[in-house]
């Protein structure tokens, strides 16, 4: 290609617009699951109450803290690179990645406990939705981690600066979205029966 698209002066605007449109898509993806949750919580209130007590609230709460912290670290990273602080960015990305790993590890502990107890997606509607929702969210966390690794590699090569930080910014938006989804999932699944 002869055209240098990066040179187009609208690039940052287009990237931001693109990620917001993508997040709108993501919102509707999870929106359908939340709709299913709402319907069955009304029609099967008793079941949902009984089953949600089986989940480990402490681990859920811990995971909420972990993910919130990771949102903070990536936000700090973005603020840093806007001022050109590459080293801070790298530290923040690494921290975010580590926290995401921690989140998944805790999730793994929860799931293996569930399976050990004989609670599977087919057990009942509540667990069907629980595994579906946390599973889809988990996939988003993994996708986010892949992005962090990619950003770290690029950052290592010094790709980002105060002038150019678009990939970091849009990944940050994505990561906040993943965080927000969890902020809804946690109370709906663990706290409100």
């Amino acid at each position: 290609m002869t055209t240098n698209h990066d040179a187009h002066n609208g690039a940052p605007v287009s990237a931001r617009l693109g990620i917001w449109a993508f997040l709108a898509t993501e919102l509707l993806l999870f929106g359908a699951l939340f709709t299913a949750y709402a319907q069955f919580r009304i029609t099967h209130a008793e079941l949902f109450h009984q089953e949600h007590l089986k989940l480990n609230r402490m681990l859920g709460f811990l995971n909420t803290l972990v993910l919130l912290t990771s949102s903070l670290t990536i936000a700090v990273g973005i603020a840093a690179i806007r001022r050109g602080l590459q080293k801070v960015l790298k530290i923040c990305l690494a921290l975010t990645l580590a926290l995401a790993c921690g989140f998944l590890f805790i999730k793994y502990l929860e799931w293996s406990h569930d399976f050990h107890q004989g609670w599977f997606p087919r057990t009942n509607l509540f667990f069907g939705l629980y595994f579906m929702m946390t599973g889809l969210h988990g996939l988003h966390v993994i996708a986010g981690m892949a992005l962090m690794v990619w950003l770290l590699i690029k950052a290592q090569r010094g790709a980002f600066s105060a002038e150019y930080s678009t990939p970091v910014e849009i990944t940050g938006l994505y990561w906040h979205f993943v965080d927000i989804v969890w902020i809804y999932l946690f109370p709906l699944l663990y706290l409100i029966g």
Binding site: M1, T2, T3, H5, H8, G10, V13, S14, L17, G18, A21, F22, A24, T25, E26, L28, L29, F30, G31, A32, L33, T35, A36, Q39, F40, T43, H44, L47, F120, P121, R122, N124, L125, G128, L129, F131, M132, L136
Partner: protein, 540 residues
């Protein structure tokens, strides 16, 4: 508008110069990606069309014939699923949209060219996965209603993943177009100077981005239902089969506007060019596209009046449904008014555009019977419905696509097609279409249900008429495609602006150079300034 005509040297193949498979498979040129979409989608149009001919052939007789009832069910499922997901959704947006959005707004490519190529290849990956399901062919109908789809032995799970990928491609394409239209218009092209095709594509892209994820998650849930048994759609586990239908139609209703809006956009481009008149009511047409997109999200329940949904929901959905008719009517009236006092030449793009209007009026008006609660109960799930959606989708979208293919063929290929043969094909297509599908309205009114491999003998005469009509239709399409294929090599070289259009794509060479415009044009007026400005005051 400044004249940027870049009359190329004879024999200059523009963006088509580069040869070899890599120049296509790895291209980030929106035009080449558009061309790949055209071949892919038209390929499935042909396959699905052959399946339709087989279905019609079996329906010549009411009893068992030709192949088993199960095969019939498989064939109509494949016909529907292919036409919807592999042809009609991507046909105009991904194919012609990719090629012409940057050309019509005067830029060199879409906003994210790499993402664009990626979209194409996950589309292909999705197709490969769905083709893989032929080992246990689907027999669920393209609607995949649960719990049938969770129980059948067909390969529903892998099909779900295939369609999920195709949906992802659709989302990313829509996202790409939204950003392109927002950020990459040529200098001077304000929103109200955009061609109406762009308005239509903008509305379309918004629908794609907002509705497709819901079918995506629905397919995932369907797969999870079959693999893990989560039971959300299974009444035996306390789940709700109607929830599947709500999810399904939350996508599949808006998506009919993904199919029809771009075709309306093409008609809005073609009619003024060949009537030599400014488009009548530009803003009304532009805003009605957005209105259709918006209202389209609120009416999915009109597919479910007899599904067991509550009466009050039916009433609300019916009421909202009628408001889709208003913006649609606006467009129809505006196109007709554009013809008034024009100087109309009947070249093949115009013939297809006019037949779009003619057939879509029938499709739209018969929609009133389906939107009204009392009459829908009777005609729902009958051949009346089949006729209605073929009048809107084939009489509408496909005619719009054909109009677009003829209109832009010279630009895309640098060749003219044979106009006489194009007209001959048009007669056959339009006549064959009406003979095929009009009898289905009557069959539906008489109560013949859809998806019937065998039917009571009293319905036979009209079925015979429909089947015979399908042969004329097929012949017309064959002639049209033969004309295109022959003209690819042997057609007369096309001038830059064979139809004397004012939109930007006509200001570059045919075919366009790789970078579209040697110099990005500056826009100083709207693109419909046909006619004598002294003869009537401007009311735009």
């Amino acid at each position: 508008m400044a004249d940027h005509a870049t009359s190329s040297l004879p024999g200059d193949r523009g963006y088509l110069s580069e040869q070899g498979w890599r120049s296509w498979a790895l291209t980030m040129d929106h035009k080449r990606i558009g061309v790949m979409y055209i071949w892919t989608t038209l390929g499935f149009f042909v396959v699905a069309g052959i399946l339709a001919l087989l279905l019609r052939l079996k329906l010549l007789v009411p009893g068992p014939a030709l192949f088993s009832d199960h095969t019939y069910n498989v064939l109509f499922t494949m016909h529907g699923a292919m036409i919807i997901f592999l042809f009609i959704i991507p046909a105009i947006p991904s194919a012609l949209g990719n090629f012409f959005i940057p050309l019509l707004i005067g830029c060199r490519d879409v906003a994210f060219p790499r993402l664009n190529l990626f979209s194409y290849w996950i589309f292909v990956a999705g197709i490969l996965v769905t083709v893989g399901t032929l080992v246990a062919p689907m027999d669920t109908g393209w609607t995949f209603y649960t719990p049938y789809s969770t129980r059948t032995s067909a390969a529903v799970t892998s099909l779900s993943f295939g369609l999920f990928l195709i949906g992802m491609s659709s989302i990313l394409t829509g996202l790409n177009f939204i950003v392109t239209i927002h950020t990459m218009r040529a200098p001077g092209m304000s929103w109200y100077r955009m061609p109406l095709f762009i308005w239509a594509m903008y509305a379309t892209s918004v629908i794609q981005v907002l509705s497709t994820p819901v079918i995506g998650i629905t397919f995932l849930l369907l797969a999870a239902e079959r693999v893990f048994g989560i039971g959300i759609f299974d009444p035996a586990k306390g789940g709700d089969p109607l929830l599947f239908q709500h999810f399904f139609w939350f996508y599949s209703h808006p998506v009919v506007y993904v199919m029809i809006l771009p075709a309306m956009g093409i008609v809005s481009e073609v009619v003024p060019v060949f009537a030599r008149k400014p488009i009548f009511g530009y803003k009304a047409i532009a805003y009605s596209a957005l209105a259709i997109a918006f209202i389209g999200f609120l009416v999915w329940g009109h597919h479910m009046f007899v599904s067991g949904m509550s009466t009050i929901s039916g009433v609300i959905f019916s009421f909202l449904t009628f408001f889709v008719a208003v913006p649609t009517g606006i467009k129809i009236f505006n196109w007709i008014a554009t013809l008034y006092k024009g100087s109309i030449s009947f070249d093949s793009p115009m013939l297809y555009a006019l037949s779009f209007i003619f057939l879509f009026i029938i499709g739209g008006l018969t929609g009133l019977f389906l939107g009204s609660l009392a009459t829908d109960v009777h005609v729902h799930d009958t051949y009346f419905l089949v006729a209605h959606f073929h009048y809107t989708m084939m009489g509408g979208t496909v005619m719009g696509l054909f109009a677009g293919l003829h209109y832009w063929f010279p630009k895309m290929t640098g060749r003219m097609f044979n106009e006489t043969w194009a007209k001959n094909a048009w007669w056959l297509v339009v006549a064959g279409f009406n003979i095929t599908f009009f009898p289905m309205f009557i069959l539906g009114m008489q109560g013949m249900p859809r998806r019937y491999a065998e039917y009571p003998a009293k319905y036979q005469p009209l079925n015979v008429v429909a089947t015979v009509g399908s042969w004329f239709l097929a012949l017309g399409v064959i002639i049209m495609f033969a004309n295109f294929v022959r003209s690819l090599r042997n057609g007369e070289p096309a001038p830059d602006n064979p139809w004397r259009g004012l939109t930007l794509e006509w200001q570059t060479s045919s075919p366009p150079p790789e970078e579209n415009f040697h110099e990005i044009p500056t826009v100083t007026d709207w693109p419909y300034g046909y006619g004598n400005r002294n003869e009537a005051s401007r009311d735009h």
